[in-house]
């Protein structure tokens, strides 16, 4: 035991991948929800 971590690239890649995937998915859900809200507002406006 040297007290030094050997290797570990797989953990680094996992951390960055999780972060990137989470940001992309959240960004996509935001755009989708914004569009849904906009079309709902348009429908409501037409009804009125």
């Amino acid at each position: 035991m040297t007290g030094v971590v050997i290797g570990g690239w797989e953990y680094v890649i996992a951390a960055y991948a999780v972060t990137a995937i989470a940001f992309v998915i959240y960004g996509v859900t935001l755009v989708t929800r914004l569009r849904e809200g906009r079309s709902r507002a348009l429908t409501q406006g037409e009804t009125e």
């Binding site: 971590v5 989470a22 959240y26 755009v31 914004l34 507002a41």
Partner: protein, 308 residues
């Protein structure tokens, strides 16, 4: 409750958004320029006003925080989704550059080896998570004091983004913990208080989904946010108050200079992403509130009938 108009008045808040953008730019400049010298020897001390490492970090962080606050409060940006999209694009580019330097140019740490590279996303995620939750806390107080639903939208947005970042923080931390501590998770004070924060604010988001009345929803979630926010200073000081596996906070003096640049570029990237996400999410909350606060057409018809 105060009469609320959710649509931004034209021109209102222009000064705040411009000042916010300038401050954020100044913060990024001072945050990054001083850290460049390790990689770009041509950087001269006058370029960062001869400020030392601590001074650059202080000026950079102060300007960035003030700029963030102004941008999140600027009313004119609420009607301009292009501003949020631009921030997201700049944030993504900065995060990619910071990550590339952190992964391929920065040296490995002496003891943690390659796994220390997780720091370049983990630490900025932690900063942004606590910042988003703190902004939500401020919005909760503002909503309770003046009943302005624009703060309620910002509260909902900042809590959701804060929860996303806190979740990511726990996952990144677990991935870093396995090779360094030997376990994915430990009921250590820092980790436990962060998990408490995540579940407390998840509960507040659930509460907001279950309550249909916007006034009750705003008041209840604001009160809950203020109570749950008590956990934030506990998280920050947990590593000093108790024996913790998690290390204590670093300062520019305790972090080797090659690590500064990727850390700071990634930090600004994730900060920009956080601001962009909150802006877009607040628009979604605005849309919902606008529909709820507008009288339904059926009701208007009935009322019209009664009047006739």
């Amino acid at each position: 409750m105060k009469e609320t108009n959710l649509s931004a008045a034209p021109g209102k808040g222009n000064l705040a958004s411009k000042a916010g953008a300038i401050l954020l730019g100044v913060g990024a400049y001072f945050g990054i320029i001083g850290a460049l010298h390790f990689y770009v020897p041509a950087v001269q001390p006058w370029m960062h006003l001869n400020l030392g490492g601590g001074g650059q970090a202080l000026v950079g962080a102060t300007c960035a925080l003030a700029g963030t606050l102004l941008l999140l409060l600027a009313d004119d940006l609420r009607s301009r989704p292009g501003a949020a999209t631009a921030l997201l694009a700049v944030g993504a580019v900065a995060l990619i550059i910071g990550s590339a330097i952190g992964l391929f140019a920065a040296p490995a740490e002496q003891f943690m080896g390659e796994t220390q590279r997780i720091m370049y996303v983990h630490v900025p995620t932690a900063w942004s998570a606590l910042l988003a939750i703190t902004f939500g806390f401020g919005c909760a107080i503002a909503f309770l004091f003046n009943g302005d639903f624009r703060y309620d939208s910002r509260l909902e947005a900042s809590i959701e983004v804060g929860v996303l970042f806190a979740f990511l923080l726990c996952v990144q931390g677990a991935i870093w913990a396995k090779p360094t501590w030997g376990v994915w998770w430990d009921w250590d004070p820092r980790l436990t208080t962060t998990a408490v924060l995540l579940f407390a604010f998840l509960g507040i988001l659930a509460l907001r989904n279950f309550v249909d009345d916007p006034v009750k929803r705003g008041i209840w979630s604001s009160v809950a946010t203020i109570i749950a926010f008590v956990d934030v200073p506990i998280i920050y000081f947990s590593v000093r108050w108790w024996n913790s596996l998690h290390q204590v906070q670093s300062t520019p003096d305790t972090v080797a200079s090659p690590f500064h640049l990727p850390l700071r570029i990634s930090a600004f990237g994730i900060l920009f992403l956080m601001i962009g996400f909150i802006m877009l999410r607040a628009r979604i909350a605005d849309q919902r509130l606008q529909q709820e606060l507008t009288a339904p057409p059926e009701m208007m018809g009935e009322e019209a009938g009664e009047l006739a």
